[in-house]
Symmetry: C2
Subunit: 356 residues, 2 copies
């Protein structure tokens, strides 16, 4: 009987996105915030696999500035044996995952997950992992394809090729963020899934693919891990070596180029919570379509997302508005336009670089 | 040659209105805020007559809790000889003015002014005072009628009777806040002015009118002044006596009932700044109709009033909105509905009586 290998969750916490400004800041990025539940996005991510015998303790790849907060948040949900790999510099996902792969044993199964996505249907996710497993154990790189339920232009898409097993397909190709016409065609043809950035592979298979397709990244990550300093459960990769790595995503650097890449389509109530609009859509909402949180007094509001982590917000007679208040900043914008928050953040960066 | 009497400005600062919540609070009511200029409304009011030889130092009738702030604000604009009469209790304008009248010499001319109104054209105001003076020195009670430029239902109106001099008329009657049809008729007939709550009379004439028409108020105010404690420039009327006074406005208690009441119509850029909408209307506004103040970053906003006395407010793509931010509260509502702020304040008073 073949020994059943434990899967190591690799949680990517390096992001410092500003699409949820003013709540998300560089000191407290989205994954460290409680947005959809009393738990933070990181806690929800770690909890998906915690306590399940099929999974070992997670590895979190993170910005060094967040190490204490990450350990505290994980401990608060009972995850006490996490390893934290502290990136000496931000180099995007391919080098981050390569650090985890070089630090792992060659035949470890790595389940790579962003730390800031919602997965409402965890059993569906776990079942998809099981479907991926046989191919992964034979050396395939697996990605989970999110059923494309709308013509989103903000996501990459994955085109399914031939089935290589039950509910698992060879990837025909990765497609970058399409225009709206193309996105509509993808949704209509039923052969394209969203690229959710969730992966399963053995460390050895990933390392082989990085070394073949992104040798500079492989070299930098390998050297950084080889000369890493260990401090309890924290691993500090060597900064000079890692700093030499190109900055690139796993999709561009590895997945789009590698052989034997598989996609497992899955419907699991996924959201990247990529905007205030997305958070409003996730709900829960009251009968008037409002999703309010915190110290909010709403009178005759409809279709609004009003959230305060600081001052009392009193809203009267407003419709389809996003209002986000913190102790030092307030955002007000129409719902539906929340990608525009980037404009505010860019303008702020220009005017007051130290505010963010 | 008759000696020309100096006019004593009597500034009423007892209000604690909440129509400009969350900026105005009981501890810092509207008159103590800088809303339309770098100076506060109280400072603007005192500055109208300061340094003009026709006027003596002002008397401010105020809530005891505001005494230090009032003295500091007046000193900051060079008004150092004000007398402050500290009301032991809030009893509306008739008793407040009666305190000032009993504390004055009988033949003093008193110019009664709310502390929280805008008068853009001060020379027009001063000219109107001169027009009022001959009648007032003969014992008339004069009120200044604000030219009714719109069918406002939020103001009282004054109907002119016969002229008793150049630009001064006997009052035919006072009219309470009318419905919109009546207000339109008033504006159309050209015989009605808004009641702006600004008065000129001798102390003796006012006292006679109070004693004749509101004897309980006269008795309470006279006793309170008679037993007052003086502390430098502060006068503390006796609390028990003043507490026995009915609470009533000068209009209801005195002006509507007295004989020999005159109105001097005047156009002087008056506003009671009675709502956020009124403040927006006062401007200044940018080309897109926005009136922003404080730490505001506005992108593609139109017709908005956005003001912060605390956090940065970032507004993107919003139209005709009022956003007022302070350190502990944020108000968001459509422009045009700002009388509704009362609903928020009433709700807050119900939920959290200590917040206001």
């Amino acid at each position: 009987m073949v020994e059943r290998r434990v899967v190591t969750p690799v949680i990517l916490s390096g992001g410092s996105g500003t699409r949820l400004w003013p709540l998300s800041r560089s000191a407290r990025p989205k994954q460290l915030l409680a947005l959809t539940a009393p738990e933070t996005m990181l806690q929800l991510t770690a909890s998906r696999t915690a306590g399940d015998v099929r999974f070992g303790p997670p590895v979190v790849v993170a910005n060094a500035a967040h190490a204490d907060e990450i350990e505290a948040q994980l401990a608060a949900v009972g995850v006490r044996e996490a390893t934290i790999i502290l990136e000496p510099a931000a180099r995007n996902t391919a080098p981050a995952i390569a650090l985890a792969a070089y630090a792992a044993a060659a035949d470890d199964l790595l389940l790579v997950m962003p730390s800031d996505h919602v997965i409402a249907d965890v059993p569906a996710f776990l079942a998809a992992i099981e479907r991926a497993r046989p191919a992964v154990e034979q050396g395939w790189l697996a990605t989970f394809g999110i059923r494309a339920i709308a013509a989103e232009t903000g996501y990459g898409y994955i085109r399914r090729g031939d089935a290589i097993g039950e509910g698992i397909y060879a990837v025909e190709r990765f497609v970058e963020k399409p225009d709206i016409e193309t996105a509509r065609a993808y949704v209509a043809d039923g052969r394209h899934d969203w690229n959710g950035g969730i992966f399963l592979f053995t460390a050895a298979a990933f390392i082989a693919a990085v070394e073949a397709n992104a040798p500079a990244i492989a070299r930098a990550a390998r050297a950084a891990v080889s000369d890493a300093r260990r401090d309890g459960r924290r691993l500090h990769p060597e900064a000079h070596a890692f700093g030499a790595s190109p900055s690139d995503s796993i999709d561009y650097a590895v997945m789009e180029k590698a052989d034997r890449v598989a996609v497992i389509p899955v419907e699991m109530g996924w959201s990247d919570v990529g905007s205030w609009d997305a958070l409003h859509a996730l709900g829960p909402r009251d009968d008037a379509g409002n999703a309010h949180q915190g110290e909010v007094m709403a009178i005759d509001t409809k279709g609004c997302l009003i959230r305060s982590d600081g001052p009392l917000v009193a809203a009267i007679g407003v419709t389809d508005l996003i209002v986000i208040a913190t102790a030092d900043a307030v955002l007000v914008m129409p719902r539906g336009d929340s990608q525009d928050v980037k404009r505010a953040v860019d303008e702020l960066r220009r005017l007051r670089p130290l505010t963010l």
